[in-house]
């Protein structure tokens, strides 16, 4: 019988040794600080954090799915549906309820995905790709493919532009999500089950874990993270847009991959999500500060995404070198 609270599944052996993700993020930070004018100013760094926050919230959800060995594409259209639902229902139910309904829709999509993948054992790629397209169709049908504006309201604007103790709400939300993700992954039973189900579902099943249930819960929790991201994003754009963030699934996957979370499942930590998200946000900020033309921005972003992932691969040889220097033999 498993204890309710368990030590971290991974990284125990190398506790205290930060992974390659930290070095990549730190390297990018130092590089941008030296090379990019006005990058290293308090105003700009706050801006980077604000830019990073929405991606960070959604990436926390994606990380859980990747740890489960799955993939979640439907984020791209579920945030769009959420924004459309929020804006169309605000007139009748008010902003708070509108946001709750929108968040409920995203969580429900996560639950459907989780049910199909966890309970019926369908492939995640197919389910979430199909859901991505179907939900995009629903979002567009609801508003005839055209964006609609939300009536101006302070409450509606709060999730994106409000402040809590002087800190922007999205940044607080992102920090909270990272802490929750860290706790879920490191001290809860379900977190441990996600690692095991992702690393080796057959073995996990033999160990008495309900893999289907773990997967279902994972997609629902991922949907909840995405729901929060959807609320902040809707509040920021102040409108219901059927094509709100089509690249969100790819950006969240890229953030996790840059952070060094393998797409094969079974591994991944909250700090890696933070590092990956920060690399993407710093880069998006740097290309603007450098005043690059749009074409140049695209090319640089592409190079950084692939380059940062390639740098992850240097991780293992570097570790071996460190071990050799310390005089530890190869095991």
């Amino acid at each position: 019988v498993m204890a309710l609270v368990m030590p971290p599944a991974h990284g125990a052996r190398r506790r205290g040794v930060p992974g390659a993700a930290v070095w990549v993020a730190l390297g990018a930070f130092i590089l941008f600080s030296l090379v990019v004018p006005r990058f290293f100013t308090s105003g700009n760094l706050a801006n980077v954090l604000r830019l990073a926050s929405i991606l960070c919230v959604a990436s926390c959800g994606q990380a859980i799915v990747l740890i489960l060995g799955g993939i979640e594409f439907s984020f791209g259209s579920s945030v769009a549906l959420a924004s459309v639902v929020a804006v169309t229902s605000i007139a009748t139910v008010g902003p708070v309820a509108a946001f709750l309904i929108a968040a409920g829709v995203v969580a429900a999509i996560g639950a459907i995905n989780g049910g199909l993948i966890g309970r019926l054992d369908l492939p995640p790629f197919i389910v979430t790709l199909g859901m991505l397209m179907a939900v995009a169709g629903v979002a567009a049908s609801l508003v005839g493919g055209q964006p609609i504006d939300a009536p101006p309201s302070d409450i509606f604007a709060w999730p994106a532009s409000g402040r809590l103790a002087g800190v922007p709400v999205p940044v607080v939300a992102a920090a909270g999500c990272v802490v929750i993700l860290h706790l879920l992954l490191s001290v809860t039973r379900i977190g441990r089950e996600w690692y095991l189900a992702g690393a080796n579902p057959a073995a996990a099943r033999l160990a008495g874990i309900s893999v289907g249930r773990a997967i279902f819960v994972g997609y629902v929790v991922a949907g909840l993270f995405c729901a929060l991201a959807a609320v902040i994003l809707t509040s920021r754009v102040g409108s219901g847009q059927p094509e709100l963030a089509p690249n969100l699934p790819f950006e969240t996957i890229a953030a996790c991959a840059i952070g060094g979370i393998p797409l094969a499942g079974g591994q991944g930590r909250a700090y890696q999500v933070v590092c990956g998200v920060l690399v993407i946000a710093m880069m998006n900020n740097a290309v603007v500060l450098l005043n690059l033309p749009v074409a140049g921005q695209h090319l640089m972003i592409a190079a950084v995404i692939i380059g940062a992932v390639l740098l992850q691969k240097v991780d293992r040889p570097a570790r071996r070198l460190l071990a050799a220097l310390r005089g530890e033999g190869r095991r």
């Binding site: 790819f250 074409a295 140049g296 592409a302 992932v309 691969k313």
Partner: protein, 323 residues
């Protein structure tokens, strides 16, 4: 192949023809304009951009990968083809295929040699190719074709029953089927997808095979770009977004297993035809075109459910089933 495995394979390849037949039947019964020769010709020529992208996608999928850069690649190809055709005459448009091959080589190198996951590598390529398109055209200006009338003849006027560009696309599909089914390369790609370790043991060079797979994918996307150019009469540097998912959808509805190793060209083409019929048919009915997206999404999930039903019916033959 055991009888059961053959049956399962047959079932997955039956999804596309079945969906196509149902869609054609429904639209024929409900929309009088649907079953007209002109509409048939229209769909028959229009579907090939998606079909070519889906065939390319299939080569990536059969090796357990996929490529989300194909839409951006087709756009870049149409742009460079337009520039080349304007510089040296219409045959210069063939450069588009070369663009696709080059891009595919880089993608294949990133995935096969450097071990970057397909989604990250092709996301990087997607963004980079968009950047290149913008760079070449000065922030997204379309490139009108000087000989757009000849191009339009090639794309729309039938010769021996079909426009020359449609003949070309059909020929490319036949070549794809031959490569997949009849050549050592096709065998290697299928082996790599169905069991990478075994493929390695029998001497398949995985790096080379990956590069070939993405070259094929890129080459077909490049050809799709040339087709876009001929149809539109202009190079469209910012076109093609959404095409990557549609092409994956067509390939999946066409029975390609995302876990690799199972694919066939004809069902993939029929999968593309199904999506095109859906788009055109709903358009004729005056229904919101977004309904087509919903249907395609549900069909994709449905094709996954098929695997579930198969497993339920034959619980002892789980190993024969592929996702």
């Amino acid at each position: 192949m055991s009888a059961i495995a053959r049956l399962t394979a047959a079932r997955r390849f039956a999804v596309a023809p079945l969906c196509l037949a149902v869609a054609v039947l429904l639209f024929s019964l409900t929309t009088p304009e649907f079953l007209t020769p002109s509409n048939g010709t229209n769909i028959g020529t229009q579907m090939w951009v998606l079909a070519l992208l889906a065939i390319g996608q299939m080569f990536a999928i059969v090796t357990r990968g996929f490529d989300i850069s194909v839409g951006a690649l087709a756009a870049l190809s149409s742009t460079i083809s337009a520039l080349a055709a304007n510089a040296i005459g219409l045959p210069g448009a063939a450069v588009g295929v070369l663009v696709g091959l080059l891009s595919g080589t880089l993608t294949g190198f990133l995935i096969g040699r450097l071990g970057v996951q397909p989604i990250v590598a092709t996301l990087g390529m997607l963004i980079g190719l968009r950047g290149l398109s913008l760079l070449i055209t000065g922030d997204g200006q379309v490139v009108p074709l000087a000989e757009s009338e000849t191009a339009s003849h090639l794309a729309f006027d039938p010769v021996l029953g079909m426009p020359p560009m449609t003949w070309l696309a059909l020929f490319a599909a036949v070549v794809a089927a031959a490569i997949l089914g009849r050549t050592a390369l096709g065998r290697r790609l299928v082996m790599l997808g169905s069991n990478p370790e075994a493929a390695h043991l029998v001497g398949v060079d995985a790096v080379r095979a990956h590069i070939r797979a993405y070259q094929l994918c890129g080459g077909f996307a490049g050809l799709a770009g040339v087709l876009i150019l001929m149809r539109a009469g202009t190079g469209l540097p910012t076109d093609g977004s959404g095409m990557e998912l549609q092409s994956i959808a067509a390939a999946v509805i066409g029975g390609s297993a995302l876990s690799g190793g199972v694919a066939s060209v004809l069902p993939v083409v029929l999968g593309a035809a199904f999506i095109q019929v859906l788009l055109t048919g709903l358009n004729l009915q005056g229904v919101s075109p977004f309904l087509a997206q919903i249907v395609v999404g549900l069909v994709i999930i449905g094709s996954g459910l098929l695997g579930f039903i198969t497993r339920r019916l034959q619980p002892s033959f789980q190993t024969g089933e592929r996702t």
